[in-house]
Amino acid sequence: MKKAILLALMMVLSFTFSAHAGETFNLLTWKGYAPTELIKKFEAETGYTVKVTYSNNEEMIAKLRATRGAGFDLAQPSQDRISSVQKKYSIYQPMDYSQIKSALFIPSMLNAVKRNTAVENNSYAVPFCWGTSGLIVNTAKAPGATDYTALISEKYKGRVSYRLKRPTLIAMAFAMGKDPFALYGSPTEYKKLMNKVADELIKAKPIVKNYWTNGDALLQSMRSGEVTVAMAWDNGGWKLHAENKDIDFIAPASGALGWIDTFAIPAKAKNTKAAYAWINFIMRPENAAMFTNKEKYATAAVGVAKFLDKAVADNFSRSFSEDTIDNIKWYPPVPAHIEAIEGKLLDKIKAAN
């Protein structure tokens, strides 16, 4: 008995300390951004053990703030959420662009991200993938949903779902004919606009079935017809389209919201070597294409076209006509204070009856 206990003790202890000693690579990212096949391939190539933690923009920032930039070797925030956070909490380290094979990236996108994540003389991120938020519509069951206003339309009562997050507020502001990004500079104006948006959303609350937090769950409810109109990312709509031709992603009339997700290295990353290795690995055309084929997100890598499935390539051209592409609203960097305003309003919407 005593021997067994001793053995168990030794085992747990050895596990605990070996786990810290090994060459692990800690990735803080969105669900789907690190497909299992790619992780396995990367591990085989480099010998690192990859540990993935799933998160979203807000939690990424909160987590890195709490750890003061430790615990993870690489994070994947959206490009608009980096500079203000970096100014305030210093949770990232400057990106060493010399370690990055810049030939792998679409140059304009790399430059845009560099510009948007610049704080003082340093830039903090490189692009990974991009996409848009818009509407996923079951055209058979909900004809006529072409703009964000469908989300607050009586017509679709009880069949609507969206995230209770900042993109929804911004989308509704655009739908009301305003440009919230133009008001980023003046918090009071911005607050006024957002108050109006919040009032609309509160008024339209009976129309919402639920506020989704779970991407897969949303897709499942769209599949089953519980939800027919949703605001979500384009890739979700395309995934569903592959199964059911009635469902598709629609770029809304007042403009899809364009985002770019990036790689940024936390301030106290232990294994920056692995971080750079991962970036250079996953941006290789064949790997980036594999990711796009599986998750349907558009990648920031060049030369992927020949590896892409035809269906995936078609998705984009089907949902985006020439002028809808021009109409994509790209997120500019979020200034401080803005998020506090939005946070309170989101709470208010959630609590309202």
Partner: protein
Amino acid sequence: MIRSLPNPRWYKSGYSIFVACFFIFLFAPLLVTCVLAFNNSNFPSLPWYGATLDWFFANTPDRVGIFHDANNLRSIMTSIQTAFFVSILSVTVGTCAAFLFEQEDFRFKQQLYFIMLAPLVIPGVILGISLLLASNTAGMYFEDSFGLDVPLFRPGFWLVVVGQFSFITTFVTLLISARLKKFDRTLEEAALNLGATRFEVIWHITLRFLRPAIVSGLAVSFLMSFENFNTTLFLVGSEPTLPINLYLQVRDGSTPVINAISLLLMLGTSVFIAINLLASKKSAES
């Protein structure tokens, strides 16, 4: 009304039906979870597409069974490690606390006892954020004044251990105190009388008497740690424990793998409880 009283039939059968309903209520969600772990569908819901063991053993790009799911397996390991350290720490300190409050007398004992009970009424979330804030304050202080980066002072494995320890110890203390109360102190006096030192007395007599309570303290703290969510949520770093990991999956997309994990979890806990029961029965007999 009670066993020794004659009861009318309607009363007896009505009562039995109520109790039966209660147990159905208790087990329905668990049963459904277990059954759907075997459904050959990519989603944890009906209709039934036939039985499969994919969610345990599969290893394909579409379906990864729990035994090949590195992410979940790692979080199970993390949970075991956390629970291991938490139970050892809290039983050690809890035993000290039990001795302190049961056998020693000192000023401010009442006040200290009251503080010891406080974690019972502090919501877990609050405990989590206050520890997060305090560790952050301490971490900043050490960094700014000494340039030291102390891993303990930021969310991560050890902060989770510390956070869970901080309230589980209260439960362990109460558990061990309850047994220590029943201890006949004349036994200690007898041992002292026979020439033992205080340390020897505690080691040979009191601790041996406390053994069943210590064992069940270990078990209880292990299980409490294993299933804790509220406190852990704020303290977890790059190594999520199983409940946190499951939460992220339930929230961000779920496959029947979660059902499979739940099933294993129930099996594991049942075995754990059974062993614990047998052990306590054995020690009660001896």
